[in-house]
Symmetry: C3
Subunit: 226 residues, 3 copies
Amino acid sequence: MQELTACLDEVGREQEISVVILRAAGKVFCSGHDLTEMTGRDIATYRRTFDVCTELMLKLQAIPQPVIAEVQGTATAAGCQLVATCDLVVASEEAAFATPGVKIGLFCTTPMVALTRAVGRKRAMQMLLTGEPVDARTAAEWGLVNQVVPAGELESATLRLAEKIAAASPMVVGLDKQAFYTQIDLDQQKAYGYAKEVMSLNAMAADAQEGIAAFLEKRRACWTGR
Amino acid sequence: MQELTACLDEVGREQEISVVILRAAGKVFCSGHDLTEMTGRDIATYRRTFDVCTELMLKLQAIPQPVIAEVQGTATAAGCQLVATCDLVVASEEAAFATPGVKIGLFCTTPMVALTRAVGRKRAMQMLLTGEPVDARTAAEWGLVNQVVPAGELESATLRLAEKIAAASPMVVGLDKQAFYTQIDLDQQKAYGYAKEVMSLNAMAADAQEGIAAFLEKRRACWTGR
Amino acid sequence: MQELTACLDEVGREQEISVVILRAAGKVFCSGHDLTEMTGRDIATYRRTFDVCTELMLKLQAIPQPVIAEVQGTATAAGCQLVATCDLVVASEEAAFATPGVKIGLFCTTPMVALTRAVGRKRAMQMLLTGEPVDARTAAEWGLVNQVVPAGELESATLRLAEKIAAASPMVVGLDKQAFYTQIDLDQQKAYGYAKEVMSLNAMAADAQEGIAAFLEKRRACWTGR
């Protein structure tokens, strides 16, 4: 996880990268922590483990590039948290999602934070208390997944989504990805106070002026990243 | 927008009006700001623009009358925000919803505040990052729209909904519309502290005593607005 | 309600009970307050009534055991709040849910607190403003109900769900039920700060060490409740 966080950190500084896709191979997308690292340690070790994991989740939302999870298989525990944390999720029909910690006596408490914010109370509670997997279609109905496609179309569907986003000004996308996660944790009045200011600054940017001019003149916009 | 805000302000003081319906004509329900007013201005002008827009959104929720959006066509950017902000939404099968600002370099940041609170994280992120429209059926599945009907039945369906609400005591409805938006931004403990007090005061009102008596006596209630 | 609260309080102290099922008989699951107790009282009486009701709702979430509502019939007003408050809900196809207070001049203000947190803004507003019932299938689509089954299978389906949960360590389940309701009312940053600490402490527990060991050794875990 530390390597992935460091990698995302570096990606976040690269102005040429406009979208990040998290992809895996095999039957499993991500199954979270290695359980052999979870036995017989002291509390400082457990704290460090969950610190590192939380840092990764926060980094996914802190970098300016949108992050798409391309989920080909099962995503469990912190792997399910990873999916719930990504900005967007495209899943194969064969994907499944679970928070099975309850079955081994180590509840998915940190995954719970991301899961409840993605699927709501009753559905999160069901996944957390039973540990049972949820298939891709159900996950899409619950708002955990944006799009479900046949396994063979997963890569192309994710790329199409990424290309759509990559057509926009990365500067503007980065500004507003940050605004998204800031405003969602404020009450509505404060969220508006903040969002108004971000949007006013956005309107002053060269890319906004260019984008609006291009739209009015019915031509393609040329982003400068300012 | 300033005129609509002023109009809502006046409506809010009219005790005889019990429901407000926002209706439009043509292919578009509302497409938000006039882009020609968005080019080459200074930041004070942009701030004023988004102040006026936010004031309208807050006024829609502040007046005691429930506001129903009757959406016959496309609602984009601040127009989509308007829909997300109204108390209830009836939409034609031909309606569509989008936050396309990302495509012109001016992200739908203030619409984001209302949208995320109506449809949740992943779905709001998808609309905001791709700018792609969502049809009426999907919007209903996501909780942005309460009811979808064929175009020819839009007006009558909206009226039926309005009449149902208009049968209640406007005083009680106004009291609790305010309570709704106040409690939703509090944590649960504080929300209950507040809601208990509103409900106790509501129970003391003449309209509650009359309503309960009418129910127990199996007759129609006669509201006095007190 | 006071008796049910006292009963839950007692259940909460019983370490042998691992799941609570709320069940009713007849056509009605729960219709909330007795309206004859709502006429001609003073404000202190109304306050006491809603205090007692709120105390019951908070107790349902405060006891360590998960609470499943087994809903065979209609749940209205504070009865609908009861359903929205339980951790999990299994409903018969014949169940229905409504907050009809608006029709009798006494708005379902305290039920609103639980309802908005379970089904979101627009759907809660629709139920609260119209007072119209929602059937079990729709309630499941909205996230108010976890599972809908034919009336004849209600008891067995609820028991199967309860047994699944009862297979876990009650100590761990209790710890994390509390964590669930605490973290959901915090902003994400604070929620992670809290959840990391709970999960580290959980990892130190004998039941976690036993559960992980049993999983790695492919044998059944033996919980000691520590």
